[in-house]
Symmetry: C2
Subunit: 363 residues, 2 copies
């Protein structure tokens, strides 16, 4: 179903995450996407700036949580404030994407939309934009759900994998492929098998589709979500959006767009790409974002003497690290984390213990 | 030359130290003796409280540096403020002890004096007092310089060692021994030899003597210091003590009482003791002061998960240490130190680098 006219293109940046993997730097009111991991800019701002050459600010929407909406708006001074959309609470990606699609359907039913996470790093912005433009072009031609398929760099056990079919369609300089199936979090051993087959890509969480296509797919595969969004939009017309959100958003089914829609949909395509990418998933993941030094990854006021392969981060106090290796040290004014690189994911245990101890001021 | 009447006994606590081994907790204006290493009390306060059953507060003098004299007085609210004596600058222990001896000679020429460092830990206060009382008793009977000889617990390469002669005199329950010679900082190999000989004790830096005896010894072995102190006391009578100190103190020869007097004096005795003692010489030395936990030595707001044999100290921020061993972590509001236990002495390199970088606010 090729389209003869290019649809208007919107970009939706999903900035609702609130993980604990970057504690003590990340807190409830300052999640990962607001951390200054992109040459002093936040990951969110870097994401928006990467997209702006492709989509003008007035058509760039950022969806985030109500608790951090003000901080997000402050981080993005050039974005129209009406373009920061606040969820009353997080209901996972299907609800988030559905809400924006329903909103756009009311005003721009023929538009296409990109969906991009706010907290990933892609150093080569123009390569990313070329891939997103191709994904949008493919989504304009076909009633397809299009994802960006990343070249895996290792057997990541917790990522989502796409099995690609034979290349089916040339889009600009890309050979788009139909997606045969999704495999979520395969575990280490299975991930190794997937990699060695050569047919699998990482699911990037970056998507393109027409508004009408995703609305139809949600109606088909997540009818409860669609019904909730219908009620939300209806009430918004009478009560205003804030009241409608407060009433209906917390009742929306909680599922991911991958599990709820992509895995079930008929026509799913991938644009295979080779550019460098990172989801900066943990403190050691900073190595892929920060300059690599002998001492490791360093951010802020750090004095390293004979340190090697460390992650040394300060948000205020001087961090003096002497004679240590493979260690993560993160210091803020009120909390310090010290953990071996290999055990960095155990920061979650710290956060759990603090929560159990009622140390809300540190969360 | 036994004395028939017991001389009046003074105690002099030397609190002038300003080391860097406890950075970042210790700073220029908060040296080790003011750190809360004694059940929440400072080492200085604990030292004074150990002495008070032996010497009343009005005869307990604390000598310290001008820059921290106010903090010292604040730490010791029960001590008469006139008993805190401030050196205009540190001139090592011979000048410090000489100054107090000259002062006492002017008012209490027949007195005896104890000299005790402010920053050591002796858990058994009554054992210490018994030893000091015996040292004072011996010093009253004889024109001797008396030191407390500690039972070594290991071949400490940087300590001072005393070679004891045959027991020469019973004093209370102690067998006082003449000291044959002093050996300063023998190094590790030599220290092992000294230990295996069984004739050596650690020089504690705790002394007893009559005022007249130490004044005579300084006159004989450090005539330049004696002349400077004569001028200081003379000017103090005309100009007041503050003006005299400012004029003369910085000109006094800089040497230690051990090197300048003890090693050269004729009649030096030791009271051998067996009580537990620590000079808390480094971050790992805290293990001898703090309760021993599985995670090691812990002070302040610390959350340790699977940590072992560490030194974890906070003066404000929460320190969360996960999966680390044999590590020193010390956190204050403006600086954090992380160093393996075995390299803890390298904190000096940090301080040197900060000084070279002009980071005065952190020193």
């Amino acid at each position: 179903m090729p389209s003869s006219t290019e649809p208007t293109l919107f970009a939706v940046v999903m900035a609702g995450g609130s993980g604990t993997r970057f504690w003590p730097l990340s807190r409830r009111h300052r999640p990962k996407q607001l951390l200054p991991f992109a040459d002093g800019r936040s990951l969110l701002l870097a994401t928006v700036e990467r997209l702006l050459p492709l989509v003008p600010a007035e058509r760039l929407l950022v969806v985030t949580g109500g608790a951090i909406a003000a901080a997000v708006a402050q981080d993005l001074p050039t974005l129209p404030t009406a373009n920061v959309l606040a969820e009353p609470e997080g209901r996972d990606t299907a609800a988030c994407i559905g809400w924006v699609a329903w909103r756009l359907a009311a005003t721009h039913p023929d538009a296409a939309m990109l969906v991009v996470p706010a907290d990933h790093v892609v150093p080569d912005g123009s390569a990313l934009r070329a891939a997103l433009a191709a994904a949008a072009a493919l989504a304009s031609r076909r009633p397809a759900l299009v994802t960006i398929g990343l070249q895996p760099t290792g057997p990541e056990p917790g990522f989502g994998y796409l099995e690609l079919g034979e290349p089916g369609e040339q889009v600009n300089s890309f050979e788009a492929c139909p997606v045969r199936r999704f495999i979520e979090k395969p575990g280490l051993e299975r991930a190794r098998e997937l990699l060695s087959s050569g047919r699998f890509r990482w699911n990037s969480g970056m998507f393109a589709w027409r508004v009408a296509t995703i609305v139809a797919a949600v109606r088909r595969h997540l009818p409860d979500l669609a019904a909730g969004l219908d009620r939300l939009m209806e009430d918004a017309r009478h009560l205003g959006e804030a009241a409608a959100l407060a009433r209906h958003y917390p009742t929306l089914p909680r599922t991911s767009i991958d599990f709820g829609v992509m895995e079930k949909a008929d026509e799913v395509w991938a644009i295979p790409v080779d550019f460098s990418w990172s989801d900066v998933g943990s403190w050691p993941g900073l190595a892929e974002v920060l300059p690599r030094l002998d001492e490791g990854s360093v951010l802020g006021d750090v004095l390293a003497i004979d340190a090697s392969s460390c992650v040394l981060v300060s948000d205020g106090p001087l961090v003096a690290a002497v004679g240590v290796r493979d260690l993560v040290v993160v210091a803020t004014r009120d909390a310090v984390l010290v953990v071996p690189r290999e055990q960095a994911q155990r920061v979650k245990e710290v956060v759990e213990r603090l929560r159990a101890a009622g140390r809300e001021e540190l969360l």
